[in-house]
Amino acid sequence: MAFLTPLFFVGLAAIAIPVLVHLVQREKKRVVEFPSLMFVRRIPYQSVRRRRIRHWALLLLRAAAIALIVAAFARPFFRQGAVAAAVGGGAREVVILLDRSASMGYGDHWARAQDAARTVVRGLGPDDRATLVLFARNAEENMRATADRTRLEAAIGAAKVGSGATRYGPALKLADSILSRSPIKRREAILISDFQRSGWSGSEEVRFPDTTTVSTVSVASTGVANLSVPSVTFARASFSGQERITVTAGLSNKGDSPASNVPVTLTIDGHEIQTERVTVAPHASGSVSFTQFTLTGANVRGAIRAGTDPLPADNNFHFVLAPSQPVSLVVVDNGDRGDSSLFLAKALGIGSTPAFQVDVTSASRLTPASFDKRAVVVFNNTSFPPAGGGNGLKRYLENGGGLLVVTGDHTTWPQGEAQLLPGRLGATVDRTSGRSGSLGYLDYSHPVFEVFKAPRSGDFSAAHVFRYRTLQTEPTDRILARFDDGAIAAAERKVGAGRAIVWTSTLDDSWTDIAVKPVFLPLVHQLVRYLAHYEPTTSWFTVGQVLDLTARAKGRADRGDRIVITPAGERLTHAGSGEGNEGLIELEEQGIYEVRPAGTPAARPEAIAVNLDPAESDLTAIDPRELVAAVTGHATPVEVQQQAPPQEMTREESERRQALWWYLLLGGLLLLAAETVISNRLSKTERFL
């Protein structure tokens, strides 16, 4: 046995410290500030006893701990490999984690990563086994544990860069799981990646046991140049009954040098519309707005292409445009006052996502046909309209319609239609005498009020409520809001596929002043959006998102099987039943997915644009040692595997021969822990100052 750093033995002189401490130990002198000793002064206290050396065991414990720690720092090691071999010799279980995220497409990163993986495979001993895990956002066992190097190398050669984002957590967890199942004692995980910082949050909760060695091979480059298109925004305007769109593309330069005079091209349905040139400073963002174009129909495919650089995937951005659909609703009032629905109509007249198409009519003029093609019907302080009777309203709701009942002194509800209203309406409560009422409770978990959840996102307590109708709900109804006295302000009932909400006060200036408060407009919009089942249209998805084809097909006549054609041209068939995972498709590739009903080859397919996760464009690398330290609990030196010749003693072997210092350090720390416990107990039994 020898020592790597025998100079550390000078530290043995520190043993003198506990001896001196034991010899010259004095009372503790710590001053605690306290507001007043008025009460303490009245209590007699125990005085000080000086102590001499009396705890020999404690002294020896402290000296031994120091000696062990000093010996650990001196790094003892075995010249012979016998002990090391006894600890972990023999065959190895190796897991090769190969990063195939989109960022590996940068320059020659992927080729270098494949070479590194091949080098690891060639370095395997005859009894060693290796598993190839390809990972991006998720990890998959590409080649199960095998000693067949040819198959492993073939699998590495066949692997391709994907479009997924980098996540180290799932890959490391999978490696841990594979290694923990292995009967072989020597276990090793080798991570080959560009070590994007965005792939490691630090909270992945991956921890390898001490018996596993984690090593890394980094293919990251310095001085990267990368321009990306992380997002696109659309400004819509109506002109002569047609919708005109202005596309603005955001550009982000994550490189260290400026992207100068880069051509940015907008393509619509395969035709180049316009090209603009732009310069973006290093580590800065910019944007390009293109001239307006007229949207001719649904499923218009667009793309932005911004120059070329070593990572071309993020220079393209795809999107699909469809004309915006206004939410159609009818407001039914009593018709006795011309302006009784003024506030509602004005509030709903504002808005573009979605736009609202509002018709106001009186209850007497309402016909059963008025419900047709309406997303929402609002009964605004009106008697029950005759057109709603005879199951007309019930049918409308069961088919997915939305009903908002705003109560007031005119509101009546027939007994026969009671199942459509969330609760039974009662008498009017007058709060005009004394303090007026206010909204005291809101169910922020409900979609209507969710947007008001964050602080300063709408002050409902500012609205005064002078009158409201009492409401007696059923246990199955959901209460959305209450007044300060506990009475129900809003409640919801699901009727078939439809939704009905009752608001127990008015939405004008007669019973409450909420109509002139800032929260009124977002509240009304939220109510109508929710009742109309409004879902904002998505122009693009991000790689990794899961698409529910069954949900998208709802409301359409063709609900059968669907053919999905991926951007790479692969055809997938999804059953339209929507049972289990059927109908769910994980968007794994960048580009345009096409979906059409099975058996209709001539039909124009629905297009779904998928783009890279913007985080993939940020190639800032994490120090591999930081990642290793996080997953192993100690900072293991990182070595590039391919540089070590397979026959020579590896760094791990060398480490194992020096592993004794760990045990010495652990022993020293254990002695210190024991010393802490003993000295604490001793200090409790002795009253001293």
Binding site: R30, V32, F34, P35, S36, L37, L689
Partner: protein, 302 residues
């Protein structure tokens, strides 16, 4: 650090106001003011609350004659209504050195400033005039009550520093001479004096009919004396140091502080003074909410 346009605005915590913002700080006594407010005035006025009938005398406005009563009794009576008014709300803030103590989180002085600022905010919102007096063994700063002084009050709270030893009697005696008009006085202190001395010092404040609200601000370490190590304890007020073995006196200490609080509770309630112990470990909104709501519940009208 968060920056505010007005120094001291940090004391008006929106989180706290969100909880107590709907409550009102109403004077328990009848107070005098100039403009309409929420409090009962000693005079009859023009509110909607009917008070009583009075015989008609020449000069009364005949519109106030109760003609129904006339029809029944054949005599003229006029209806009188309660008058509502606004009042002065003065925050009396102890800035003696012991108030700078904290064992975790927030110092007692800061906690007291939060309470004072929130109550001043409530008062200002209900159109009361707000003022501030900080004191230790003498009056340190004085902001006279005014409808425009809310910002000045906050600025003074921000500047308040616990630097000198405290003594309740002298500054409170000066204040008692100073207050000429009935109003609400909010006293925030840690009351490290004998209960009788404290009451003698405070009583004059209520002589004029002021509504006195007393908050006893204490740190959790003062209540439970949760120290473990034997140490020298230094009195923040006097600088005196005493060696203390906490284990041996913790029980006696707790009994003494509880007896002190109990004595103060009894004495203050005997003199109809609102007394509340505030533990700085307790969330401020809960403490204020429970106090204000209980005050609202127990509010007695004239």
């Amino acid at each position: 650090m968060q920056s505010h346009a007005i120094p001291g605005a940090r004391f008006v915590d929106p989180k706290v106001l969100a909880r107590v913002g709907n409550l009102e700080l109403l004077a328990r006594n009848v107070v005098e003011g100039f403009i309409n407010g929420l409090h009962r005035a000693p005079f009859f006025g023009a509110s909607i609350d009917f008070a009583e009938h009075r015989g008609y005398v020449a000069g009364d406005d005949i519109r106030r004659v109760d003609w129904r009563l006339y029809a029944r009794t054949d005599r003229y009576y006029v209806k009188q209504y309660e008058a509502d008014t606004n009042t002065n709300v003065s925050v009396l803030l102890d800035v003696s050195r012991s108030m700078k103590f904290f064992s975790r989180g927030i110092a007692k002085l800061d906690y007291a400033c939060f309470v004072g600022a929130c109550l001043a905010y409530l008062a200002q919102r209900q159109r009361d005039r707000v003022g501030l007096i900080t004191f230790d063994n003498d009056i340190v700063s004085h902001v006279p009550p005014s409808a425009k002084h809310f910002n000045v009050v906050l600025q003074n709270m921000d500047r308040a520093k616990a630097e000198r030893a405290g003594n309740l009697a002298i500054p409170l005696h000066k204040m008692a001479e100073h207050f000429r008009r009935r109003g609400i006085l909010v006293l925030l202190s840690d009351f490290y004096e004998e209960p009788d001395t404290i009451l003698e010092a405070i009583k004059p404040l209520s002589f004029l009919g002021n509504d006195l609200i007393v908050f006893h601000v204490l740190d959790p370490a003062e209540l439970d004396f949760g120290y473990e190590d034997a140490s020298s304890f230094e009195d923040l007020e006097t600088g005196e140091q005493i060696p203390v073995v906490p284990e041996s006196l913790v029980k006696e200490y707790r009994a003494m502080i509880q007896a002190h609080i109990a004595a103060l509770t009894t004495r203050f309630s005997e003199h109809r003074i609102d007394y509340t112990v505030l533990n700085t470990a307790e969330p401020l909104d809960r403490a204020l909410f429970s106090y204000l709501s209980s005050r609202e519940r127990l509010m007695r009208v004239r």
